[in-house]
């Protein structure tokens, strides 16, 4: 349940963990080039719900992956997410001035700096995965095995971020402005635009612990896909219904930009039903994992019931 103080406590602890990891990964603001580093820290630190990192931590708990490895994975995904927000807000894209309750990076600094902030955050995400500490203190094969697993994580994050993932979804989004999309087309867009990175968050977190078998991987993937889409449907509903102050970003932008959304295609009521259906699919996918999936289950509730 979202209201569970137990879950809220868990979320706070892990939000603080990823904040610490991000603090350490981001170059200090006084290091040259100082303006770029200051802007990178501005873009990443002290804001956001950290949904993707929380998904990574929760999936790490599912497979018994704790410690600094999962923090590195969580930070890597959040860095990709943060870079995408900085670039999406640029004038040539969504041209937005408000993000997480603050001026967007190109408003606070300038466009060229915002471009380089996004570029540098993407590099830093791969750095985060590459410099992850080994899971075991044991020397030899096991430790090298950790390295091979990290390489799979690099591959997964690269795919999820690139033209067949998040960036590709953004391209489809741009091309769809002013067009009438059918539901399957909208779904195709969001599976790329937001779904790919949410899926990566879950799988990267899971990769930090014991290996899952093929069937378990598929099940977890099914969970991730459903929760990724649910996240987007709820986002569209919130964009249509909530205020700018609540969201910390400009509300009502989708309609204003004539962008197809779940709300524009289905209306608010049916969009809410769809979110519930996806939520229910996600919860069902977790059943085989039993109690180990507690945090993923609570996160699925949070994603659907959130109000910002």
């Amino acid at each position: 349940m979202i209201a569970s103080s137990d879950f809220q406590g868990w979320a706070r602890v892990n939000q603080a963990r990823v904040e610490t990891a991000l603090q350490k990964l981001l170059p200090a603001a006084h290091l040259a080039p100082a303006r770029l580093h200051e802007a990178m820290r501005y873009a990443v630190l002290g804001g956001g719900k950290r949904v993707r990192p929380l998904l990574a931590y929760a999936a790490g708990e599912l497979t018994g992956g704790g410690g600094e490895r999962v923090s590195a994975a969580a930070a890597a995904v959040e860095l990709i997410h943060a870079y995408s927000l900085v670039h999406d807000d640029l004038p040539c894209m969504d041209d937005d001035v408000l993000r997480r309750g603050k001026p967007t990076v190109h408003v606070q600094y300038d466009e060229a700096t915002a471009l380089l902030v996004g570029d540098s955050l993407q590099s830093l995400a791969f750095h985060a995965l590459a410099q992850m500490p080994p899971a075991s203190e044991a020397p030899g094969a096991e430790r090298i095995g950790d390295r091979a697993r990290q390489l799979e994580m690099v591959e997964l994050l690269a795919q999820a971020s690139g033209s067949r993932g998040m960036a590709g979804g953004q391209a489809i989004d741009l091309a769809s402005v002013g067009k009438t999309l059918e539901l399957p087309e909208l779904e195709f867009m969001h599976i790329h635009k937001t779904g790919a990175l949410i899926r990566a968050a879950v799988l990267l977190g899971a990769y930090c612990g014991e290996n899952l078998n093929r069937a378990e991987c598929d099940t977890l993937d099914h969970f991730a896909k459903n929760i990724g889409l649910a996240f987007q449907v709820v986002d569209d509903v919130l964009d249509a219904e909530a205020s700018t102050a609540t969201l910390g970003k400009t509300a009502g932008k989708d309609a204003q930009h004539n962008k197809p959304t779940y709300v524009s295609i289905l209306g608010v009521t049916r969009a809410k039903h769809l979110a519930e259906e996806l939520h229910s699919n996600a919860q069902q996918a977790l059943r085989p994992f039993g109690a180990k999936a507690l945090r993923l289950k609570q996160l699925a509730d949070f994603v659907v019931q959130r109000e910002f």
Copy 2:
């Protein structure tokens, strides 16, 4: 010697090898989102001197690293280079309309697409490193060792690309427009802006073969730093002296943009002397490697003697 037909043949063969690797890595132009994929291919294929890939191949020959691994490394570095050109040409950066003799990506397509092209090419570079085939067919530890080495390559490329490398150099470059820089400041900028990726090209290529000892690594690094700076000094001389038609990009832009360059600080004659000095340092660094360094030696000649 640059005029050596032997070297020219070697360069042509390896330019074709990296072109094939890039062709395979880049998603087909008909795959969705087709416009983005078409633009990515436009940005990368069929152009450029491929100096960085050639450095990777040459360093691979130094350590006996052949085959597809070095092609993946060469392609990864070229993808980072190509992404940086697409973003640097954007209106909020250098605002250039001509690159490799063709309209720049944002002119041929649009700004948003150019932004996403750069973002996607960066992801693809890390994908290229992560999906590199193993060096040996042998199963077990050796093969896993290859994976650990690849992870070091990811780390190296992430560092070279990010805010402490290429993107950071670009930020320093932007901040220096209209300012009077001293030579050490200019050098600091270029060590980041172009030097970091050229160094990465050499080291990634070398990592595809037998391990070098610490002293050999340092020596190779010294070569790479000198040739990276020489490359930039020659670039500045060419920008001042050559025509747009020869360069395939807008000539005389540095002076026009009031950018500090080796020519603006030293004048053409002293800049040419500096290039020769760096060239000589680079050649000396290669001596301990003997005949194995032939291609690196020839590339150093090419970098300094090129006319475009």
